[in-house]
Amino acid sequence: MTALRMTHFTATSCLGRGLKMTLAALEAARSGLTPCDFETVALDTQIGQVSGLEAVRLPAQLRAYDCRNNRLAELGLEQDGFCEAVHASAARWGRQRLGVFLGTSTSGILETEIAYRARDRLSGLLPVGFDYEHRHNSFSVSDYVRRALKLEGPVASLCTACSSSAKVFAAAQRMIDAGMIDAAVVGGVDSLCLTTLYGFHSLQLMARTACRPFDLRRDGLSIGEAAAFVLLERACGANDHAVLLLGAGESSDAHHMSSPHPDGAGARSAMRRALDAAGLQTRDVDYINLHGTGTPSNDSAESLAVSALFGTETPCSSTKAATGHTLGAAGALEAVICALALNNGLLPGGLNLSERDPQLTLNYLTHNRRAPLKTVLSNSFGFGGVNCALLFGRAS
């Protein structure tokens, strides 16, 4: 596939607003996870919450979209001059030549969860003012972002659970390759809600404290929230220092709705396809940002998948002990972390690991390492056995 240029990117998560705070937290090996005090949730766990969303105001003409998820999207768009970069791109290519493809798993469902507590006692109806289209529906966030950015090209939300905002890169790449667009705003926005917190609790997949990916005593994931955006454009042969999307690989497990294939067969196939798409060998990859949720089954299956393909030398880590698992935003958030890693020669060590699981044989970094990086891989796997691996590199 033809490499695409990541012209501009930004991320907002519990590590902070924008690239500077995100990088500072990674460099300081600081986690943004805190004890769960979200809404009325009574669960003994930790979460990665973005502070200050209550104070975010949407533009007046887009108030109909007001919900936690779209506030998070707005806050994310406001960082690092992202809107300005998109406007410059639209001026260059044309508004109809920029697509918008965003990943989310739960969009604004928190609005509906809260509205269900206020149903009319007699009729059972939802309260007046409830707005399904603009706040609940999965399309809401993509529709909000394209309107906020005044773009008129193809648009869709991609909803493949925890691989949603990895797959947006592949979708944009196809649409650009097919000539329908010249550039795309891709990313992921997913915010805290009761469905995911109580849902993962029901599956006994939530860590009691902060998640501990690859630890012997790991007991589950910590849920976070994030907005991450990337402006992808056709590379024009400019010999610059931009980060490039080199390849994407996708596969399905065809195994189980909520458990990965125990051998990681689907994960391995997604990574293989990403390498093939980029025309690269395993030895070309300098660092792997793992899916690494911290559930016993994910880390074990992913370790088998990575070691079967790469062996056990390639440095790798999960950044989810820092950010929490931001679900539908995780792919894009970790794409931005990979871009920061490439630009700063930083291999972020995984946090919260006190005793390695001897069954997990990967070269899992527990401390930050400095080294020039040329090519990095990012893994994202979701419920339903839906896998995506992305390869990023430097233009020069």
Binding site: M1, Q96, S105, I109, T112, E113, Y116, R117, R119, S123, G124, L125, L126, F130, D131, E133, N137, S138, F139, S140, E152, P154, V155, A156, S157, L158, C159, T160, A161, K167, A171, Q173, R174, M175, D177, A178, G179, M180, I181, L194, T195, Y198, G199, S202, L203, E250, S251, S252, D253, A254, H256, M257, S258, G266, S269, G382, F383, G384, G385, V386
Partner: protein, 264 residues
């Protein structure tokens, strides 16, 4: 103007008064009257027993309709990437979760939770057919059919391989029904392949357009088109049912429709 060209090798449909493609083709071509009746869902026989027990209405709807297009094409479902498109996924499941979360116990079953992901149909489909190929699930509210058709066609063009497009919606129970009045269950499927396929029923070429959306003359069919997002694709199926070349304009965004030029 950028365009995407792909072949259609198979068609599936199920919805109110539309029980399969041959019967629907007769209705859409005007050879049979349209008689609106509640959608009757097939049993999800392709699933293993454990998944069959957990399958809600949206799974039954989509699996049946997907199988119809694949079967017509003569291809093996195991080797087909899938593009799944839906406005709201499993409405019954969403309601049940919101109701449970509004109660004091807040107990959600693991099955409820994994069925809540928008890509649940894709997961069940992959398990039913042992399909380890890529899948993606898109949502664009009322534009979901057109968004899915664009995504699937760009995959065919980019990868040079056939892709199954499966668009489906089910009605929500009250009180979400009052906020999002989807009339009934409806699904459309198309087996799309590269434009030089020898098994083509038709070649379609997609482009964005400023023309208004194509409407049905029949008021009941027009009402169906407007009341279920997946049914926004029916004008394309009508053209195919008539075996006539021409262009239809599918509802997409406020800023553009999706023009579909059909060559039979």
């Amino acid at each position: 103007m950028a365009k995407l060209s792909v072949c259609i090798e198979g068609i599936g449909v199920l919805g109110p008064g539309l029980c399969d493609w041959p019967a629907s083709a007769a209705v859409l071509a005007g050879a049979s009257p349209y008689i609106c009746a509640r959608t009757v869902l097939p049993p999800p026989d392709a699933l293993p027993a454990a998944e069959r027990r957990r399958a809600g209405r949206v799974i039954k709807l989509a699996l049946g309709v997907g199988a119809e297009a694949v079967s017509q094409s003569g291809r093996d479902a195991r080797g087909l990437p899938g593009v799944f498109s839906s406005s709201g996924g499993d409405g019954d499941n969403c309601h049940a979760i919101c109701e449970a979360l509004a109660g004091s116990e807040r107990l959600i079953s693991p099955t409820r939770f994994h069925n809540s992901v928008h890509n649940a149909v894709a997961g069940y489909w992959s398990i039913a057919y042992g399909c380890a190929e890529a899948s993606v699930t898109v949502c664009a509210f009322d534009a979901s059919f057109a968004a899915g058709l664009l995504e699937a066609s760009s995959q065919v063009t980019h990868n040079g391989c056939p892709v199954l497009l499966l668009a489906y919606d089910v009605d929500y129970p009250s009180p979400l029904y009052e906020q999002r009045p989807i009339a009934d269950a409806c699904a459309l499927s198309l087996l799309l392949s590269p434009a030089d396929s020898p098994n083509a029923l038709a070649v379609i070429t997609l482009a964005l357009s400023q023309q208004p959306a194509t409407r049905f003359d029949d008021p009941e069919l027009e009402s169906l088109r407007l009341s279920i997002p997946a049914a926004r694709g029916l004008p394309l199926l009508q053209q195919l049912a008539r075996s006539r070349s021409g262009t239809v304009f599918l509802d997409y965004l406020d800023t553009a429709r999706l023009a579909v030029e059909i060559q039979v």
